[in-house]
C-alpha cells in the first residue's frame, strides 16, 4: 500500500482537470468528483497510518535531472510525520469539501471552486509526501498559487482582489528566502534529499554559521507561509476568500505548511550551533503568538478574530518547535488543524445565517442555530485550552517544553494563553449570547450538509487530544519522536507530565474566559470603559501595531517611486535608442531596394527566361506516353548489352 | 522416363476413364435429377422410356447428338466452339486426383499428385474461362450477362473453396488427397476440432455449390431470368458438353467433399449397436411414412426404397462386425455411398431453395464465407498448436 502512495496526490489532480474541462457536466457540477477523490485519499491515508503505526516506512526516488555531477531526484517518503499530515489534510479537507457543497451553493463559479480546492489538495499532498526540498518546493508554490486563486475567488470585489495580490506577494518574499536557502543547501551538500542532507549535517559537511544561515533562510519561507512576524500581514486580509477556503487553507493546512517545513527540516535547526536557529524560531513564534493574540482581542469581524488567532496559534507551534518541543509542535499543528477548521466552519455557518461578518450585529444565535453553537463551543474551548479538549493537551505540552527550556517564552506563552481564552470568550459571547442586535437579519440553522461536518469535526476536536494525553503514556510522542533526539543531548523529545504547568495553563485559560465573561456577558465592566481607559493601547491594537502603514511607507511607496523613474527612463532613453536604430535601418533598406530591383531581380529573371527557352525546346521529348519511354529504355539496354559484348 | 511423361500418361488415362465415367455419371446424373425433382414435387418423373424411365437420358443423349449445331451470327466461331470443350475438360480433369478406394494392392486413383488439393482447385477454377468465353462468344446479351455473373461468382467463391481445402490439408498435414483420406483413419475430419470441422465442411459445401452454379447459387444459368444464361445459344452436342462438364464437376465436388470431410473410402468404424440402431431407425422411418397420413402428401415408394437400402447396409455391417471380418464392404462401395449421398443432398437443395440475388451472393462470399473461413483456419491452427 505504501508503494502506491503516489496515487494520493494524483487523484485530486485528476479531479482538478476533470472539473476544469467538464465542469458542470459532472455529477454535482464536479463537487462529487472532488469529494470522492479526497475521500478515497482519506481512506488511503488511514490505511497508510495503520501501516506506519505498525512501524513501516517507505521511500521511493527517481532521477529527474542530472546537473553535472549532481543529480536532482524527486521522490516521496512515508514516515510518521508524513502519515500524520496526510491524515490531517485528507480528513479535514474532505469534511470541508462536503461543507462547501452547502456553503458555496448557487455560486456562479461553483465548479471552479472545487477545481481550485482539488488542485490545492493535490499540491498540499505533494508537499507533504515529498522527500526532497525540490518536490516540496513545487508543492509549496502550488499551494501558494491556490491560496492566491481562492482568496481572489470573488475577484469582482476589489478588496478580495487586493487581498489575493497581497497574500501572493508577501508569501513570495518568504519563498525567495527559502529558495536561496534551498540553493545554498544544494551547493554545499549537493543534494536535496532530506535524509542525505541530514546525513551531511550529522557528518558535519554543513555546519557552523553556514548551517544556521541555511536554516534561517528556510525558516524565512516558513515565516512567509505561516504568517509569522513580520510577514503575517497577508493572513487577515486573506479572510476575503470564501470561508471554507479560510478554514482549509488559511487555518488547517497551508499555513501549517511552514510549521511542517520546520518540523521536516528540524535537524537543520536543531544542530545549528547552540540552537541559534531554534532560538530565533522560538522567539519569532512567541512574539507572533502574543502580538496576534492582542490584536485578536479588538477585532469585530468574526473571521478576522479567527485569522489572528490562527496566526497566534501558528506562532505557538513555532514556539513549541523552537523550545525543542518537536513532538508538541507537530501535535499542536494536528489538534489546531481540527479545532480551527471547526471554528472557521462554524463562523462560516454563522455568516451564512447572518449575511454579515460583524460580531457587533450578532448575538443570541445560540437558540437560532444550536448545532453551530454547541460545535463552536467545543472548538472554542479546545482553542482556549480547557481540559480535556484537544487544545489543552497540545498547548500544555508546548508550555511544558517552554517551561523546561526558556522561562521568558514560558511567560509569553501563558500570557498568550490568557489572551486566547479571552478573545475566544469574547467571540462566543458576542455571537451567541445576549439578544440579536441587527434588526434585518433572520438567522436560521444551516443545512445538514454543513452541520454534519461541523459535528464530526467537533468530535475530533474533542477527542483527538487524547492521542497525546500523558496519562495514556503520550502515544503520539512515542509515535512521533524527534529523530535527532536519539543522539546529541537526548531526552528533549518526551518530557513527563508536570501537574504544575498543566494547572497553571488551565487556570490561565479559565481566567481568560472569566474575564471575557465579566466584560462581555455580565457587563460589570463594559468594554467601552476599557476602551476609554486604555485608549492609546486600543488605537495601537486596532491599527494592528501599524504594520500595514509601516510596509506602505517602507516598501510600497519606494517601489512605486522607483517604478515611475524606471518608466521615464524606459520611455525616453531605451525607446529613443530603438527608434533611432529603426530609422537608420529604414534608410539602408531604401538603398538596398534599388540594388534588389535591378541587379538581383534582373539575374533571376534572366535565369527564368533561359529556363523557359530550354524547356520549350525540350518538352517535345516528354510525350506523356510510357510506351515511348519504354522503347527508349529497351534501346538503351540494347546499346548497353552490345557494349558489354564488344568489350 | 521423366515425371512429365508420366503426367501426360496420367492425364490421358484420366480423360479416357472419366469421359466414360462422367458420361454415365452425367447422364444418370440428369436422370437422378429429374427423378428427385419429381419425387420432391410429388410426381414420378420420367417413367415411359424403359423401366422407370431408366433409358430416358440415353434417348435424350441420342437426340442431342443428332441435333444441328447452330452458330449465332457475328459470333466468334473459334471461341464459340472451344468454350464447351474447356468446360468439359476442366470438369473431367478434376477427377485425376480423386481416389476411389483401395484395391488390386494400390490406391484406385489415376494419379496421387503430391499437390492434389491445389491441383483440384486449379482445375475447378479453369471452368470459369470456358463459361466466360462461352458467354462472350455467343454474342447474346443474356449469355454475356450469364458469363459475367458466373465469372464474378466463381472468382469470389474459389477463395472459400480453397479455404475449405486448406483446412483439411492443414489438419492432414499433406496436400495429397490420398494422404488426406489416410489421415482420417482416426476419424472423419467432419468431427475434427468440433465444431470447426463442421464449419469448414459447411464452408466447402457452400462454395462448391456456388462453383458448380447450382441453386441457390445458380444465377449464371437462371432459367427464369437469363433463359439458361451462358449456354443459351448452344445446341446439340455442345450443350451436352456443358451439361457433361457441369455434372462432372458437381460429382467431383461431392467426391472431394466426401474425401475431405467424410473420410473418403474409409469405412466408418462405429460399434455394432450403433449400426443396429441406425438400421432400425431407417426401417422405423419407412414404416412411419408408409402407414401414417404422410403417405397421402408424399411419394412413398422411393423413400421406402432408400430406407430399405440403408437398412440393408446397416444389417450387413452388423453382420460383418458380428463375424469379425472388417472392412465389411469394399472401400469403393463406401466411397460411392458417400458420393451419392452428397449428390442427393445437392439435388435436394436445388429443388428446395429459392435463388439468391447477385449482390446477396457476392456479399455472402466476401463478407461472410471469407472471414469465417480465415478465422476458422486461424482458430484451428491455434488449437492444434496449443494441443501439441
Amino acid at each position: 500500500m505504501l508503494a502506491y502512495a503516489w496515487i494520493i496526490p494524483l487523484l485530486p489532480f485528476l479531479a482538478f482537470w476533470l472539473i476544469v474541462f467538464f465542469g458542470r457536466a459532472l455529477p454535482g457540477q464536479g463537487a462529487y468528483v472532488a469529494i470522492g477523490a479526497l475521500l478515497i485519499d482519506a481512506l488511503f491515508s488511514i490505511g497508510i497510518l495503520a501501516q506506519v503505526l505498525g512501524g513501516a516506512t517507505y521511500e521511493a526516488n527517481l532521477v529527474w535531472a542530472v546537473l553535472g555531477n549532481r543529480t536532482l531526484e524527486v521522490g516521496y517518503q512515508i514516515d510518521p510525520l508524513t502519515a500524520v499530515m496526510l491524515i490531517v489534510v485528507t480528513v479535514v479537507g474532505s469534511l470541508i469539501f462536503i461543507y462547501s457543497v452547502g456553503y458555496m451553493h448557487g455560486d456562479p463559479r461553483y465548479p471552479r471552486f472545487f477545481a481550485y480546492m482539488s488542485l490545492f489538495a493535490a499540491s498540499m499532498l505533494t508537499l507533504v509526501l515529498a522527500n526532497n526540498l525540490l518536490l516540496l518546493y513545487v508543492g509549496w508554490e502550488g499551494v501558494g498559487l491556490c491560496s492566491y486563486l481562492l482568496i481572489g475567488f470573488w475577484f469582482e470585489r476589489p478588496a478580495a482582489a487586493r487581498a489575493s495580490l497581497k497574500a501572493f506577494v508577501t508569501t513570495r518574499i518568504g519563498d525567495t528566502f527559502m529558495f536561496i536557502g534551498i540553493l545554498l543547501i544544494f551547493f554545499t551538500v549537493g543534494t536535496l534529499q532530506f535524509d542525505r542532507i541530514f546525513e551531511a549535517v550529522e557528518a558535519g559537511h554543513l555546519a557552523g554559521p553556514l548551517l544556521t544561515l541555511a536554516a534561517l533562510l528556510i525558516f524565512g519561507g516558513a515565516v512567509g507561509k505561516s504568517a509569522q512576524l513580520p510577514l503575517h500581514v497577508w493572513l487577515p486580509d486573506a479572510m476575503e476568500g470564501p470561508t471554507p477556503v479560510s478554514a482549509l487553507i488559511h487555518a488547517a493546512t497551508m499555513v501549517a505548511a511552514g510549521v511542517y517545513l520546520v518540523a521536516r527540516g528540524y535537524l537543520l535547526f536543531f544542530s545549528s550551533p547552540d540552537h541559534t536557529a531554534l532560538t530565533v524560531v522560538a522567539w519569532v513564534g512567541g512574539i507572533t503568538a502574543f502580538m496576534a493574540a492582542t490584536i485578536g482581542i479588538v477585532q469585530d469581524d468574526i473571521k478576522r478574530v479567527m485569522a489572528y488567532s490562527t496566526i497566534s496559534q501558528l506562532g505557538y507551534m513555532m514556539l513549541g518547535l523552537g523550545v525543542l518541543g518537536y513532538t508538541s509542535g507537530v501535535f499542536h499543528l494536528m489538534t489546531h488543524a481540527f479545532f480551527k477548521a471547526l471554528l472557521f466552519l462554524g463562523a462560516g455557518s454563522v455568516i451564512h445565517a447572518m449575511h454579515t461578518n460583524d460580531m457587533k450585529e450578532m448575538g443570541g444565535l445560540a437558540r437560532a442555530m444550536p448545532y453551530t453553537y454547541w460545535t463552536m463551543l467545543v472548538g472554542g474551548l479546545a482553542l482556549a485550552g480547557i481540559p480535556p479538549l484537544s487544545g489543552f493537551w497540545s498547548k500544555d505540552e508546548i508550555l511544558l517544553e517552554a517551561a523546561h527550556n526558556n522561562q521568558g517564552l514560558f511567560i509569553l506563552g501563558l500570557l498568550t494563553a490568557f489572551l486566547t481564552a479571552f478573545y475566544v470568550g469574547r467571540m462566543m459571547f458576542y455571537t451567541f449570547s445576549g439578544t440579536l442586535r441587527s434588526h434585518h437579519a433572520h438567522p436560521h440553522e444551516s443545512p445538514a450538509v454543513m452541520t454534519v461536518p461541523l459535528v464530526i469535526l467537533a468530535v475530533f476536536a474533542a477527542v483527538i487530544g487524547f492521542v497525546g494525553a500523558p496519562f495514556l503514556g503520550n502515544p503520539f510522542g512515542r509515535f512521533l519522536p524527534f529523530a535527532g533526539a536519539a543522539h546529541g543531548e537526548a531526552g528533549e523529545a518526551a518530557l513527563g507530565f508536570d501537574p504544575a504547568v498543566a494547572a497553571s495553563s488551565t487556570m490561565v485559560a479559565l481566567a481568560g474566559l472569566l474575564a471575557a465573561a465579566v466584560v462581555y456577558y455580565w457587563k460589570w465592566v463594559p468594554s467601552s470603559t476599557l476602551r476609554r481607559i486604555g485608549r492609546p493601547l486600543y488605537i495601537l491594537l486596532v491599527r494592528k501595531y501599524y504594520w500595514d502603514e509601516f510596509y506602505r511607507w517602507t516598501v510600497v511607496r519606494p517601489t512605486v517611486w522607483i517604478a515611475r523613474q524606471l518608466r521615464v527612463f524606459d520611455l525616453y532613453v531605451i525607446d529613443g535608442a530603438v527608434n533611432a536604430v529603426g530609422t537608420v535601418f529604414v534608410w539602408f533598406a531604401r538603398l538596398y531596394r534599388l540594388f534588389d530591383l535591378y541587379v538581383v531581380d534582373g539575374l533571376v529573371n534572366l535565369l527564368g527566361w533561359i529556363t523557359g527557352r530550354v524547356g520549350a525546346v525540350l518538352r517535345h521529348v516528354q510525350t506523356g506516353r510510357p510506351q515511348n519511354y519504354l522503347l527508349a529504355i529497351a534501346l538503351g539496354v540494347i546499346v548497353l548489352v552490345i557494349g558489354g559484348i564488344l568489350r | 522416363m521423366s515425371t512429365f511423361v508420366e503426367i501426360l500418361k496420367a492425364i490421358g488415362l484420366a480423360v479416357l476413364i472419366f469421359t466414360f465415367l462422367a458420361v454415365v455419371g452425367a447422364m444418370y446424373g440428369v436422370y437422378l435429377e429429374r427423378k428427385i425433382s419429381g419425387w420432391i414435387q410429388v410426381r414420378y418423373g420420367p417413367m415411359h422410356v424403359g423401366r422407370w424411365g431408366l433409358l430416358q437420358t440415353i434417348a435424350d443423349t441420342i437426340k442431342l447428338l443428332q441435333k444441328e449445331h447452330i452458330t449465332p451470327r457475328r459470333a466468334d466461331v473459334m471461341i464459340f466452339n472451344t468454350a464447351p470443350i474447356i468446360v468439359a475438360v476442366a470438369g473431367l480433369l478434376d477427377w485425376v486426383v480423386i481416389p476411389f478406394g483401395t484395391g488390386f494392392g494400390r490406391y484406385l486413383v489415376v494419379r496421387d499428385i503430391n499437390i492434389g488439393v491445389v491441383y483440384f482447385a486449379a482445375m475447378a477454377s479453369l471452368t470459369v474461362i470456358g463459361i466466360l468465353t462461352a458467354g462472350w462468344a455467343s454474342n447474346n446479351k443474356y449469355a454475356l450477362l450469364g458469363g459475367l455473373r458466373s465469372a464474378s461468382q466463381m472468382i469470389s467463391y474459389e477463395i472459400p473453396l480453397a479455404l475449405g481445402l486448406l483446412w483439411a490439408a492443414m489438419i492432414a498435414g499433406t496436400l495429397s488427397t490420398v494422404g488426406i483420406v489416410e489421415a482420417q483413419r482416426g476419424g472423419w475430419f467432419l468431427f475434427k476440432v468440433p465444431p470447426l470441422g463442421f464449419l469448414a465442411a459447411l464452408l466447402f459445401l457452400a462454395a462448391a455449390t456456388a462453383e458448380v452454379n447450382r441453386v441457390p447459387f445458380d444465377l449464371p444459368e437462371a432459367e427464369s431470368e437469363l433463359v439458361a444464361g451462358y449456354f443459351a445459344e448452344y445446341t446439340g452436342m455442345r450443350f451436352a458438353l456443358f451439361q457433361l462438364g457441369e455434372y462432372a464437376e458437381m460429382y467431383a465436388m461431392s467426391a472431394m467433399a466426401a474425401i475431405l470431410f467424410l473420410g473418403g473410402w474409409l469405412e466408418p468404424n462405429m460399434p455394432q449397436w450403433v449400426w443396429a440402431l441406425l438400421g432400425i431407425g431407417a426401417l422405423a422411418m419407412a414404416a412411419f411414412i408408409r402407414f401414417s397420413v404422410l403417405r397421402q402428401v408424399m411419394l412413398v415408394r422411393p423413400i421406402l426404397a432408400l430406407a430399405v437400402l440403408g437398412a440393408v447396409i446397416c444389417g450387413l455391417m452388423v453382420l460383418g462386425i458380428g463375424l469379425g471380418r472388417t472392412p465389411v464392404l469394399p472401400s469403393i462401395v463406401w466411397f460411392f455411398i458417400k458420393l451419392f449421398a452428397l449428390v442427393f443432398f445437392l439435388m435436394w437443395m436445388r429443388w428446395t431453395y429459392p435463388r439468391l440475388r447477385l449482390d446477396q451472393l457476392l456479399n455472402l462470399s466476401w463478407k461472410v464465407l471469407l472471414p469465417v473461413g480465415l478465422l476458422n483456419i486461424l482458430l484451428t491452427g491455434l488449437l492444434l498448436t496449443v494441443a501439441q
Binding site: Q627, A634, V641 | M1, M78, V118, A121, S125, L148, I155
Partner: protein, 163 residues
C-alpha cells in the same frame, strides 16, 4: 528422348499462343491465347519438378488473372472491338528492339558458361517451400501479404463507381 519431345511440344504450346497474344487484332482472342501459354509454362514447371509452383501457376494465372483480364475486356467493350486499331505507330521500332534484344540475350546466353550442379530436388517440396517462407523468407512473405492487402483495397477504391 521423351523429355525432349515434351519440351519441344510445350515450347510450341507456350510460344505460338504468345505470338497470338501480342499480334492478334481481336483482343479477346489474345486474352484467351494467354491460357495455353500459362498452361505450357505450368508444364515447364512440372518438368522442372516444381509441382507446387505449377499448381499455383494454374490457380492464379489461368484461373484468376486471365478471367480478370477477360472480365475487364468485356466491361470495356468500346476498346476491344475487332474493327479498332490495336497497334500504335511504333510497331517497326518495337519489333526491331524486341528482335535485337532477343538476339543479344541469346548471344550472351550462349557465350556464358552456366554453373551446372547435378542432383535431384527433394520429391515433395511444398512443405519445404512453406517452411522456407516462414523461416528465412518471412520478411518477403509479410511484405508480399501486405502488398496483396493494399492492392485489394486499392483496386476496390479505384474501380468503385463514385455515386
Amino acid at each position: 528422348m521423351g523429355e525432349l519431345a515434351a519440351f519441344i511440344v510445350l515450347s510450341l504450346v507456350i510460344l505460338i499462343p504468345a505470338v497470338i497474344v501480342v499480334t492478334s487484332r481481336n483482343i479477346v482472342r489474345s486474352a484467351l491465347s494467354l491460357v495455353p501459354t500459362f498452361l505450357g509454362v505450368t508444364g515447364f514447371y512440372i518438368m522442372l519438378q516444381a509441382e507446387f509452383v505449377a499448381g499455383i501457376q494454374v490457380l492464379i494465372y489461368a484461373g484468376a488473372i486471365t478471367v480478370l483480364i477477360l472480365f475487364v475486356i468485356m466491361l470495356t467493350e468500346g476498346g476491344s472491338g475487332v474493327d479498332v486499331r490495336q497497334m500504335n505507330e511504333q510497331v517497326p521500332l518495337g519489333a526491331t528492339a524486341a528482335l535485337w534484344l532477343a538476339f543479344l540475350i541469346l548471344v550472351v546466353l550462349f557465350r556464358t558458361q552456366w554453373p551446372a550442379a547435378s542432383g535431384q530436388p527433394p520429391a515433395y517440396n511444398a512443405a519445404t517451400i512453406g517452411s522456407a517462407f516462414l523461416s528465412s523468407y518471412v520478411l518477403i512473405f509479410e511484405v508480399t501479404s501486405l502488398v496483396l492487402l493494399l492492392s485489394l483495397i486499392g483496386a476496390i477504391v479505384i474501380a468503385r463507381r463514385e455515386e
